[in-house]
């Protein structure tokens, strides 16, 4: 009995320590896998998500409070949205997961945080090259992160169609943001491939 108890609590403490509490995600995105080994950065991140139906969302982490306000200010000015201070504050407070066109942004920010789950967001329009609203978001983000290293992340779902991704790339290019990363699940390098050989020589060199 005592032995079993010991084992049980050993395992328990292991799992408690190994667990990382993740905030519940508003959107479930199943990412594809890649052989890349770089861990996703967590600081100063702008995350663009694509859901299975091709809706595009813009978000950034809560600890970039200053940048958040700068972004919403810039977007407000660029598009003459006439947002009130309260609405801007709401953007700062919320987990700033934006998936609505500019025309709905005001009413979206008026909604109390508890009701956000019930709102059906239609995504930021990107597929139409004449109305790619992500360009404005990226421009605002770029100026907000001036002088800082901004990490651009694209988190797409396996089943989303290419045009959404194409629209995002177009928005990046328009703003001269030429480098970005895609969030993927880790995957083993296929044996016998060139990359596997390269990794091996690197390991031997060490």
């Amino acid at each position: 009995m005592t032995a079993m108890c010991d084992v049980a609590f050993l395992l328990l403490s292991f799992f408690i320590l190994a667990t990382k509490t993740k905030p519940p995600e508003v959107l479930t995105v199943e990412t594809p896998s890649s052989v890349s080994t770089r861990i996703v950065p967590e600081k100063d991140v702008i995350l663009i998500s694509i859901d299975p139906t091709g809706r595009v969302f813009f978000s950034l982490a809560d600890n970039n409070q200053k940048e958040k306000l700068a972004i919403i200010d810039a977007v407000d000015k660029a598009r003459n949205l006439g947002l009130t201070d309260a609405q801007k504050k709401a953007f700062g407070k919320s987990n700033s997961f934006i998936g609505v066109p500019f025309s709905q942004l005001g009413s979206f920010l008026n909604t109390p945080a508890d009701d956000l789950k019930n709102i059906k967001m239609e995504g930021i329009p990107v597929t139409d090259s004449t109305n790619n609203q992500l360009i404005d978001w990226m421009l605002a983000a770029k100026s907000a992160f001036e002088g800082k290293k901004m990490e651009l992340l694209v988190k797409g779902d396996n089943n989303s169609k290419y045009p959404a991704f194409q629209g995002i790339i177009a928005a990046f290019k328009k703003n001269d943001l030429m480098k970005f990363s895609m969030v993927t699940n880790p995957e083993g390098v296929p044996a016998g491939s060139e990359l596997a050989r390269e990794n091996q020589t690197k390991r031997l060199a060490k």
Partner: protein, 180 residues
């Protein structure tokens, strides 16, 4: 298992006037504690995500109209991969023939062989892979093919928008193959 000693003496008799010393068992019933332990273990096993997501880096080329800034590629060293509907890859070497006779079909499992064959048969400095995903291809397809570039150590590759001619050809091939 652990039990409490509730018997109030009654065993052997002690002498008159000798107080019965109550002997309490030191063994505690561990069953509930272990139950709770395993319950928590199962909870943490289910909620743990072991593998952290990784980031795949991609640099974009700058669009330019100036001819001197554009990359020139030799036609013989180009392998064009068209990503179509239903996880199918269409590919051709060099330029697409007007009758599309050099368009071949493959899948994501066999595309590595295609890339490696082409890579071996061309001068390394001329070898370029052009990736053209069409409207019906999935995001997974794009990432998979970029991953394939990494696996096969392709130094030069680019994602380009599909042209109308190519899209038509792919559509026709798809219809012929019965992919809807």
């Amino acid at each position: 298992m652990a039990e409490m000693d509730t018997s109030s003496g009654g065993g052997h008799k002690k002498g008159p006037g000798v107080k019965k010393s109550k002997k309490l068992s030191t063994r505690v019933d561990l069953t509930p504690m272990v139950d709770l332990g395993f319950l928590l273990i199962t909870f943490f096993i289910f909620t743990t995500t072991m593998s952290q997501p990784t980031a795949m880096h991609l640099g974009l080329p700058k669009d330019t109209d100036k001819p001197e800034e554009q990359n020139k590629v030799k036609e013989s060293g180009v392998l064009t991969l068209l990503l179509g509907k239903g996880d199918v890859v269409y590919y051709y070497e060099g330029q697409l023939a007007p009758d599309a006779s050099n368009l071949k079909t493959t899948g994501f499992k066999d595309v590595r062989d295609v890339i490696l064959t082409k890579k071996k048969s061309t001068n390394p400095s001329d070898f370029v892979v052009v990736i053209k995903p069409d409207k019906e291809s999935r995001y997974k397809n794009v990432v998979d093919i970029l991953d394939e570039m990494l696996i096969n150590d392709v130094k030069r590759y680019a994602t380009v928008d599909i042209s109308d001619v190519e899209f038509m050809v792919v559509q026709k091939t798809q219809e012929a193959a019965g992919i809807k």
